[in-house]
């Protein structure tokens, strides 16, 4: 997680570690100081999130204990993370995220458990203490859940939840969307297919229509048959519902984490994916639908490619107008885009 933990105006990184919390203080030039390790009791940390949990404007931490599974709160005050402020008995936390779910200006927490499935919501009191009765759970399909993303999926200004449920391996894989009511409660999960073993999830407006979309990566390990992993994109309808996923096959093994950014500087959403099996980070660049070769521009090369697709009658590869096949109409769309008239793909 990224935050300015020491208030020097430079971004730092917090990492969950077997020894506790590791902080890398940024130098502001892309380099970092030596790792500082902050003990969290006697055990390690599985995951963490940053938030201002006591209202003093500093980035505090909520962490998940690797040994007990409890949710632990760490204060960043005069002394940085001197110890555990409070502990909440929780079913573990494979993922932690923060939001203000009841609109009271106090930071709340959402987590997916390590023991079982679903998503849990902890409503904050503004004092780094989350009482046991502050936690409520919502079921999701399957037997486990691995990540939660917080966004406004229906445009009502209230945080909603999207949960990845990897336990539906090869059965009925699901991403669950729970719309917020604005009072700290959520509606029952609505579930969507999202490839095999959906594990990590992020939201962004990928197609530029003003609605939140979802990107989901798989955590099917290399022992499984090739082609089981994929990046799945679910475009949002703006009302809290999502369209069926568009799947991008990957060959890098399990993809345990996905983040979004504008890496190319073109205002499009790109994705960065951690490949735990391949020891690599994959970048997926968002490109115009009319940029057939994906080189960042629409030109005569793209026209040639779409012409070839139309001549070869390749079904729906670059079906820009959504009529089910690549035809001269799709070629015309690319020609118009190459002429600078915009890409009218649907």
């Amino acid at each position: 997680m990224v935050a300015d933990f020491n208030g020097d105006g430079k971004q730092d990184i917090a990492v969950a570690d077997n020894a506790g919390v590791e902080i890398l203080m940024g130098n502001g030039d892309g380099t970092f100081q030596a790792v500082q390790t902050f003990a969290v009791g006697t055990g390690g940390v599985l995951t963490l999130a940053v938030g201002d949990f006591n209202g003093f404007g500093d980035p505090d931490l909520v962490v998940s204990s690797l040994t007990s599974g409890n949710v632990l709160m760490l204060d960043n005050g005069t002394q940085m993370f001197p110890g555990i402020v409070s502990s909440l008995d929780a079913p573990g936390a494979s993922w932690l995220a923060v939001g203000d779910f009841n609109g009271d200006g106090i930071t709340d927490i959402a987590l997916t458990p390590t023991k079982g499935n679903g998503v849990f919501v902890l409503l904050g009191s503004g004092n780094l203490v989350f009482p046991q009765n502050s936690m409520s759970g919502y079921p999701t399909p399957g037997s486990s859940s691995s990540a939660v993303a917080i966004g406004d999926f229906n445009g009502d200004g209230i945080p909603d939840l999207a949960v990845a449920n990897p336990s539906n391996n090869f059965g009925s894989p699901k991403v669950s969307v729970l719309l917020g009511n604005g009072d700290g409660t959520f509606q029952p999960a609505v579930n969507y297919a999202a490839g095999n073993n959906p594990y990590s999830i992020v939201f962004g407006d990928f197609d530029g229509d003003g609605y939140a979309d979802l990107a989901v990566t798989s955590d099917t390990d290399l022992a499984n048959p090739p082609g089981q992993n994929s990046l799945n994109v679910l475009l949002g309808n703006g009302d809290g519902t999502f369209r069926p996923p568009v799947s991008y096959p990957v060959t890098t093994g399990a993809q345990t984490s996905v983040a979004m950014g504008n890496f190319y500087g073109d205002g499009r959403v790109d994705l960065a994916i951690a490949n735990v099996d391949g020891n690599t980070v994959s970048i997926y660049l968002g490109v115009s639908a009319c940029d057939i070769d994906g080189d960042g521009a629409t030109n005569v090369a793209d026209v040639q490619l779409i012409v070839n697709e139309a001549l070869e009658a390749i079904p729906a590869v670059d079906d820009l107008n959504g009529d089910g096949s690549v035809t001269v109409a799709d070629v015309q769309i690319v020609i118009d885009a190459a002429l600078g008239l915009g890409c009218a793909a649907k």
Binding site: G204, G261, N262, I273, A274, V276
Partner: protein, 182 residues
């Protein structure tokens, strides 16, 4: 003077002393009323990845300290108060209608004294699909990744596999070679 009962951990922190100021100072008659904070953003709307400057105006203008800026519950960063204003520029706002607020925690907690929210609209350029871009060699088994503006260049943003501290120099070498040139 009877002070409110506070947990010991709060009394041991800088923040806890700040929390007492609204109680102590008016009784001594030496403090100004709790500060007010107003917020503006520019440009609004903005394009995803482009810099957005958040400016807080603090009263009284003699106030000192930092203002913390939030996107919903997410801490964006802080700005130092100079002559009644503090600003912070970010390229990391997600897409959508972002509810931005500012807080000067010097006089009260952020939950009690925030600015009125400014809805910052962050639009993205339409993308029809994703294509594989650069593949970066990471340290062993990266399990998590996050994005930040670590070099202050404000462009481009940068991915970072968070299980590796030793990857920094190598990553940035690859960044310069791989991303900027695409």
């Amino acid at each position: 003077m009877n002070l409110p009962m506070l947990p010991a951990w709060r009394l041991s922190s800088r923040s806890s002393l700040l929390a007492l100021l609204p109680i102590l100072l008016p009784r001594f008659g030496a403090a100004q009323a709790a500060s007010g904070v107003s917020l503006s953003t520019s440009p609004n709307p903005s394009v995803f990845g482009a810099p957005v400057t958040l400016t807080a105006t603090v009263t009284p203008a003699s106030a000192v300290g930092n203002v913390t800026f939030f996107d919903g519950a997410t801490i964006l960063g802080t700005g130092v108060i100079h002559s009644g204003t503090a600003s912070f520029t970010t390229v990391l706002l997600p897409t959508g209608k972002r509810r931005i607020t500012a807080c000067d925690p010097s006089y009260s907690t952020c939950s009690a004294a925030r600015s009125s929210p400014v809805v910052q609209t962050v639009t993205s350029v339409p993308a029809g699909r994703f294509v594989p871009g650069p593949t970066l060699t990471a340290d062993s088994a990266p399990t998590s990744i996050t994005v930040g503006d670590f070099n202050g260049a404000a462009f481009p943003t940068s991915p970072w596999p968070t299980n590796s501290a030793a990857m920094s120099a190598f990553f940035w070498e690859r960044w310069a070679a791989g991303f900027n040139g695409r």
